[in-house]
Structure formats: structure tokens, C-alpha cells
């Protein structure tokens, strides 16, 4: 009898890239729902715009590159990039900026380098930084969380604002938008106010900014889900959080009136999302276990440095991109000891 031939091992775990990416998308759901609750429908509309753009752009570029379209799209990585970018964007951002950012992420950051697995930089964060630097005004016009405003735009009103830039009558952009808490903290500190004065504002909740802290918590639940499903390892999230908390804690102890306390950093911006969903992008992160811990720690430290002394309050994106550059070097110096070799050097 004759049989077909191929090499071992035969069979594999019932997992796939599509499944991993699908789990990441699923894990984002609680955080996204929380964002919709606090910041309105714009979040969903942005995700939809970014997703459609990403899929169309990826299909087009795959066709141009002569790669299988359907099979590659099925890895869902374009949707993950689109979603991560969209939830980092202000909820009422004009649609064409979302489209521009997504196109940049998919075409330039991802496919010009060879597509999934080959991009040195996190596509969502690179696109976010591009938009932030090129269009600082719309990119810093956030909405206040639901409990701090009387204005609640309906779905259609939000859609209209995003697509046409027109707000309902009697509303102005200045009236409905506000700076992000990170921005607010920075501005107030520049006015030489002390932290305790600043924290008098209704903006601040128990540990971070009101609304934002709960968004962070829900993203954390998604992150724990990813940890449990072993989609991500513990090293990068732990590294990011430890790097940020320890650095912030150290400086805060010396100067608690001008350096915000560590909890603020955790729950006022994109830290939790960054620690569990963005820094953990395996393609652009370090790959060795020790390297991942270091990579995460350095991101956490950089986030604190940028937030405290840098020009932009939106530190996670910059920190991730900077460490993307460092990842190959970190990998090189953190290679694990091979079985049968002595602790350092050859056995």
C-alpha cells in the first residue's frame, strides 16, 4: 500500500494566528463598551471607519503584492490594528483623519515592511503618533466622561459630527470637548499649582481620572483574560506596570506636590490598554522571556519620563515606538541559557 509523505511532527495544537487575534479582539470588548458608556458613540463609529479602511487597504495591497487576499485577511491582524488605533483616537475625530491614520498604519508601517510579522514598529502606535504630530488640535480634542457633562450626543449627531464636522445647533466644539486628564494635569502643573490643588477639580476620581479609571479597569479585565488564555505572557504587562509604578513612586516620594502619585499614571490615560494590548504586540516586542520583562519595564519608565518632562502627555505611543527600536538589541543580550550550557558562555 502507498501512503502520502510529509515530515514530523504530525498534527498541531488547535490554535492559529486568526484565533489569537480573535481573542485579542474579544478581550477588547469590555473596555470598548466602557468607553462607549463614558465617551459616547464616537468610539464605535471610529472603530467601524478604521476597520473598513484597514480591510480595504490590506486587500488592495495584498492584491498588488500578489499575495493571497482572503487567507491573509482571515488572520484578523488588520482588524486588531484598526481597533487599537480607533480606541486611541478622540471620539469626535473627523473621519478622514481616522482613514488617514489607518491607511498609514496598514500601507506604510505594516505592508511596506513586508506585512504581518515583518513590521518593526507597532502600526497602530505609529499611526497615532503621525496623527498627533501632524494634527495636534483635533487629536487633543477629547470628550469629557459622561458624568462630567450635560451634553450627550445621540448616535446620529455623533455620526454627523464625525462625517461633516457640524455639531447640533447651539453647541460649539469648545463647549463639548475638553482636554484629556493627562493634558489637564500637565497644564495645571505648568501654572504652578500643587497636586492637591489640582485634585480639587471634579475631574479626578478615586485613583485616576473619573471615567478613565473605569475604562482602565475594564481593559485590565480583558488583559487578564488574554493572560488566562495564554495569548500574552505576563512579562510585558508586569514590566510596563512595574516600570511605571516604581519610577513614578520613587519621584513622587521626593516631591508629592509636583509629581502625581503613581495611581494617577495607571488610571488616567492609556497605560492599562498599553500594558496589556499594545506593548504586548508580539511582532514588535522583544521575544525572550527576560527580554520581555526588560522591554516592558523600559516602556513603563519611558511613559513616566515623557509624561513628566516630555512635550506630549500621550506617552504610551512614544514609549512603545522607542522600545520597538530597542527590541532586537534587547533580544540579543537576553538570550536564554541553552540546556547543557553553563550560566554564562559556552558549556
Amino acid at each position: 500500500m502507498k501512503f502520502p509523505v510529509h515530515t514530523s511532527p504530525y498534527g498541531h495544537l488547535p490554535n492559529s494566528v486568526s484565533r489569537e487575534m480573535g481573542l485579542v479582539l474579544a478581550a477588547l470588548v469590555p473596555g470598548v463598551v466602557a468607553m462607549v458608556w463614558y465617551f459616547g458613540w464616537g468610539v464605535v463609529i471610529n472603530i467601524a471607519i478604521a476597520s473598513v479602511t484597514a480591510v480595504v487597504a490590506e486587500a488592495a495591497v495584498l492584491k498588488l503584492r500578489g499575495r493571497p487576499v482572503a487567507r491573509t485577511l482571515a488572520d484578523l491582524s488588520a482588524l486588531v490594528t484598526a481597533t487599537l488605533l480607533a480606541i486611541a483616537l478622540p471620539p469626535l475625530l473627523p473621519w478622514w483623519l481616522t482613514v488617514l491614520g489607518t491607511l498609514f498604519a496598514i500601507l506604510f508601517v505594516k505592508h511596506l515592511y513586508g506585512g504581518l510579522g515583518y513590521n518593526p514598529f507597532n502600526p497602530a502606535m505609529a499611526a497615532y503618533v503621525l496623527l498627533l504630530i501632524s494634527f495636534p488640535v483635533p487629536m487633543t480634542r477629547w470628550l469629557p466622561p459622561e458624568m462630567l457633562t450635560d451634553v450627550h450626543l445621540s448616535f446620529l449627531q455623533t455620526l454627523q459630527a464625525i462625517l461633516t464636522g457640524h455639531l447640533p445647533d447651539a453647541l460649539t466644539w469648545d463647549a463639548i470637548t475638553s482636554a484629556t486628564p493627562l493634558d489637564e494635569m500637565r497644564t495645571q502643573l505648568e501654572f504652578n499649582k500643587t497636586i492637591s490643588e489640582i485634585r480639587q477639580s471634579p475631574l479626578w476620581g478615586d485613583f485616576g481620572a473619573r471615567g478613565w479609571e473605569w475604562v482602565g479597569n475594564w481593559f485590565a479585565i480583558g488583559g487578564l483574560f488574554l493572560l488566562w488564555r495564554k495569548v500574552i505572557g505576563w512579562q510585558i504587562p508586569a514590566g510596563v506596570l512595574a516600570g511605571l509604578l516604581l519610577t513614578a513612586g520613587l519621584f513622587w516620594m521626593f516631591d508629592p506636590e509636583t509629581i502625581p502619585f503613581p495611581g494617577f499614571h495607571l488610571f488616567s490615560g492609556g497605560t492599562i490598554l498599553g500594558a496589556f494590548f499594545i506593548a504586548t504586540d508580539p511582532v514588535t516586542a522583544s521575544t525572550t522571556p527576560r527580554g520581555r520583562l526588560i522591554y516592558g519595564f523600559l516602556i513603563g519608565m519611558t511613559v513616566f519620563i515623557i509624561r513628566t518632562w516630555g512635550g506630549y502627555p500621550d506617552a504610551v505611543a512614544f514609549a512603545v515606538l522607542l522600545m520597538n527600536m530597542a527590541a532586537p538589541t534587547i533580544d540579543y543580550y537576553t538570550r536564554p541559557r541553552v540546556f547543557g550550557q553553563r550560566e554564562n558562555g559556552d558549556g
Binding site: 514530523s8 520581555r292 547543557g340
Partner: protein, 521 residues
């Protein structure tokens, strides 16, 4: 030295794959009857191919040595039954690439008559020295029966300056589906323990640790009883967790003793020798009964056979007949795998003979051994590194193997890869990683060979140039000598010329004197 808390260590990585052993565990289907015609490969082991001692037409008997070893690493081949040699020629054998190899073909006469020159049994082995017993093991053609088929006589000879502390007997049988070692331990524990007594004497080890995975409780119980009934004081049965590749030599040694076999090294360097349970039982036959290795237990299993179980198979029997004997292929038969699903290899044809290395015939269904799916790009998730028992970085190796950067592959310890397949099993992108590593290893070997050939050619060229130069020098030297001799001649002191000149002068003087004397007169 006695190991404290054996089995309390761990190895990195590994995987849990459904072990599928229940299909065949504990089931014995009998001894496969001898077919009319046997095909006996001359190479059933690692090392030098055996050299035939018989000629076509010659009559041979069961247990007769029909091919001998010519170099240190090798094993002789014996006739599995009595009969007549038909021919010695290239025949298809069980090889991943479907290659042919030299085989002795013999026709069984059905009498199964033993050779009358078998060596005597050595039940008093304790009074004999290790070299004599090693020679017996070598004569019996025993090789590692776990599948690697490395000559056992070489393995149990660590050299005079290496002290062996621990003899490790490998009964882990970590590959899914395979149960032949399990069956052997359940039913022939005494035979294994007897072999341990012999081997302890041969390698002079202080203790023996028998490692068995905890999914084989019957085997553990049987072995524990056999050890307790024996006079072996320092032999212990150690239950180890079921995790692939626990049965890998380096992994089992680490778990049992806490010692790591050095990278590129062998267990003897850390005072350990590791042998499989079936190999140990074969040693008993060779020493206590004077019988060579003629048959082995083979697991026939998978959804592709009607009746999975274990069978005793003489070497040289075609696999098709083994499967026939167990009850034939089922409708689900899709792939024929020699060995287990993790490290075995597929055979294109079942008309190849069972050899010493054949531990399992896995006839897998399409679900058990699916065709490779299209690989997605590596997303560097690192799951492979987490699973790698050699603690390598498979994704980096993949990267370098793909770009044929063989130097980098070496730098990332490619040759510490044991090809266990854990990385490929966990890879979410379904990349056939092991295939890349095999490729890189083969390329490296080829390059090394080429380098050696180039080096050889360079040496030959240099020698030739030197020889030509020497010849040239010698020729020149000869010419110079000749020339010098000539020049010497021409430089005026030629005696002949001088004599002629002197004669001419004398004649002239004579003439002058004559003229002078004539004038006055």
C-alpha cells in the same frame, strides 16, 4: 554516589499531547509468523554498515552472524531464522526519503533451526570483567531499541577515565501512541531487572534509576515488584510526570538526577549512562542465554488499523505483513508513520522490512495526522521558545534557517535541537519549524564536507606545486652543475690542449736548434 530525591527536578518547556496509548496498551497480539522471504538491511544502527559474511546460495541458521562489524561504532546482523541466502542487493528500506540500501535477502526454510555455534550463556557474569561482557553485547548486535539504534556496546564503554555514578533506565515512553515498552515492563519486568544487574556490573555504576511516566501505573507496579524481589539495593523505580519529551535522554537524566548533559556532549561526561528498557532486556538474552537480537516488540496502532496492539516481530519481515497479521488496515488508514507522531517519519510504502529501530507502526487517520496546512507568517509570539526543552529560541533559528544564515544558526545553538517537534506543535502560524532545522543541519553538514573537500584539494594542490617546484629546483641544480663543469673546462687548463701546445712549442724549439746547428757547418 546516590542521588538524593531523584525525579524532583524538571526540564524546561515540553508539551501535553493526548497520549492515545489506551488503544494498544497492554494488548499483545502474538508473534508475527515468519514469511517465506526476509529482507534484512545491513544498516539497522547508527555507525558503519555491516559487512556481509555470507554468499548467495549459502545455507544459514537462526542466530548465525551473517554480517559483521568492521569499525568501532557498528553492530553485526544475525539471521532471524534458518534458510538460504538468495541475494545481497539494494532494496527499499524504511528511510524518510524512501531510499534503498544494501540488504541480505533470505528464504526461510520453515525449520527455524538454531545455529550450533552460539556462545555459551554467562550466568556467572559477575566473575567476568566488563570487557568480556561488552564483547558479548557487541556480538549480540544490540543497539538502542528506543528508536535511535545507537550500538549499546559503545554506549556502555565510557572509557577508563570516566566514572559512572548512575545508570538510567528509560521506561518513560513519552511519544504518544507507543506502548511496546509499557507492555514489556508489565510482562517482562524480571528480564529487564536481570539486564540491569548485568549492566550495573559492566559500567560499575553506584545506582540505577528507572524512569517511568505516571501514565503507566501497571508498568510501574510490575517494575517496582521486580526490583524489590531482586538483590539490587541501589536500584529505584522513579515515577516521572507525563510530559513530552520526558523520554528524551537529556530530559530524563535532568529530571532524575538534576544533572544536565553538556551541550554537544554525552551523558557519560556527567557520570550517567542511559539505556532503554527493551535494550536492557536484550542484554539479558545476550548474556544469560547467549542469544543475539533477532526480534523486537512493535506497537501497531492508530485509527488506520482494525486491531491495535503489540506484536513480536523478527527483523526483516515486511511491514505490510505485520499489519496484515494484526488485522489489516481500516478504512481510515491515511498515513503510515514509523515511530510516534512527534518524531516518527512517514513511509511512502509498507513493503519495507522491520528493523531494530522499528518501535511503532502508526497508521494514522486523516484526523490523527492531518496534511500540513498553509503556514502563516511568524508573529514572534514566543510560544515555541516556551515549549523548547533545549531552551533554544526556535523563532530566531527559523529566521536564520530560512535566510540560510548558517553561521547565525550555529550561534543560536542549532545543533542542540533534538527535533522533538514541540515548537511546531504549539506554533499558531503552523510553520513546519523542525523541517527548517533539519534543512539547516543538513546544509551545515554539506558545507562542512565541502570545506573539508576544499581543504583537501588545497593541500593536494599545495603539495603538487611544491613537488613541481622541487623538481624544477633539482633540474636547475643539475643544469648548473653541468654548466659549471663545462665552464671549468673552457677556462684554459685543459691538459690535452696544454699537451698539444707544449708539443708544438717543443717542435718549434727543436726546429730552431736544428737550424742553428746547421748554419755554422
Amino acid at each position: 554516589m546516590i542521588t538524593r530525591n531523584p525525579g524532583s527536578w524538571d526540564f524546561h518547556g515540553g508539551i501535553h499531547r493526548p497520549d492515545m496509548k489506551a488503544m494498544s496498551a497492554g494488548k499483545y497480539l502474538g508473534k508475527v509468523p515468519l514469511p517465506k522471504r526476509l529482507v534484512i538491511p545491513l544498516q539497522q544502527h547508527i555507525g558503519t554498515i555491516a559487512e556481509p559474511l555470507v554468499e548467495p546460495g549459502e545455507r544459514v541458521f537462526k542466530g548465525q552472524t551473517i554480517a559483521r562489524v568492521t569499525e568501532y561504532i557498528g553492530a553485526p546482523i544475525h539471521a532471524p531464522t534458518s534458510g538460504t541466502i538468495i541475494e545481497i542487493s539494494e532494496q527499499p528500506v524504511a528511510h524518510p526519503s524512501g531510499l534503498s540500501a544494501p540488504c541480505i535477502m533470505m528464504e526461510a526454510d520453515g525449520e527455524d533451526r538454531w545455529w550450533d555455534q552460539l556462545p555459551e550463556p554467562l550466568p556467572w557474569f559477575e566473575e567476568l570483567d566488563a570487557a568480556t561482557l561488552r564483547e558479548r553485547i557487541r556480538w549480540a548486535g544490540i543497539v538502542g531499541l528506543g528508536g535511535a539504534a545507537f550500538p549499546t556496546s559503545v554506549k556502555v564503554n565510557p572509557g577508563p577515565d570516566r566514572k559512572i555514578d548512575t545508570l538510567v533506565i528509560n521506561g518513560a515512553e513519552c511519544e504518544p501512541y507507543i506502548t511496546c515498552d509499557d507492555y514489556l515492563m508489565r510482562t517482562q519486568a524480571d528480564r529487564i531487572v536481570e539486564g540491569i544487574r548485568v549492566l550495573m556490573h559492566v559500567v560499575n555504576a553506584g545506582e540505577c534509576l528507572i524512569g517511568i511516566e505516571d501514565n503507566k501505573p501497571e508498568a510501574i507496579a510490575a517494575m517496582e515488584k521486580a526490583v524489590a524481589d531482586s538483590d539490587l539495593q541501589t536500584t529505584r523505580v522513579i515515577t516521572v510526570p507525563t510530559r513530552y519529551p520526558m523520554g528524551g535522554e537529556k530530559q530524563l537524566i535532568k529530571v532524575l538526577t538534576g544533572k544536565e548533559v553538556p551541550s554537544n556532549g554525552i551523558p557519560a561526561e556527567i557520570g550517567v549512562i542511559c539505556l532503554n528498557v527493551a535494550t536492557t532486556a536484550a542484554v539479558t538474552d545476550a548474556v544469560m542465554a547467549g542469544r543475539p537480537l533477532l526480534s523486537r516488540l512493535v506497537t501497531v496502532t492508530g485509527e488506520g488499523v482494525n486491531n491495535p496492539g503489540n506484536v513480536e516481530v523478527p527483523y526483516g519481515v515486511p511491514m505490510s505483513q505485520v499489519i496484515e497479521f494484526t488485522g489489516g488496515y481500516s478504512d481510515k488508514a491515511y498515513k503510515l508513520i514509523l515511530g510516534g507522531p512527534m518524531m516518527g517519519f512517514t513511509l511512502g510504502d509498507d513493503e519495507v522490512p522491520v528493523t531494530k529501530a522499528t518501535n511503532c507502526l502508526l497508521v494514522a487517520s486523516r484526523e490523527e495526522a492531518p496534511d500540513p496546512v498553509h503556514a502563516q507568517p511568524c508573529i514572534r509570539c514566543g510560544k515555541c521558545a516556551a515549549a523548547c526543552p533545549a531552551q533554544l529560541l526556535p523563532q530566531q533559528l527559523y529566521w536564520y534557517a530560512r535566510s540560510k544564515d548558517l553561521e547565525k544558526c550555529q550561534e543560536y545553538n542549532l545543533f542542540d535541537c533534538i527535533e522533538c517537534g514541540c515548537c511546531a506543535w504549539v506554533c499558531p502560524s503552523h510553520i513546519p519549524l523542525v523541517q527548517y532545522y533539519r534543512f539547516a543541519k543538513t546544509e551545515t553538514w554539506a558545507q562542512e564536507k565541502e570545506k573539508q573537500a576544499a581543504e583537501e584539494a588545497r593541500r593536494r594542490h599545495e603539495a603538487r606545486v611544491e613537488r613541481l617546484e622541487r623538481l624544477e629546483r633539482e633540474r636547475k641544480a643539475r643544469l648548473r652543475k653541468k654548466k659549471e663543469a663545462l665552464e671549468k673546462k673552457s677556462s684554459g687548463t685543459d691538459p690535452k690542449k696544454a699537451a698539444i701546445e707544449a708539443a708544438v712549442q717543443r717542435a718549434a724549439q727543436k726546429k730552431k736548434a736544428q737550424q742553428q746547428t746547421e748554419e755554422p757547418s
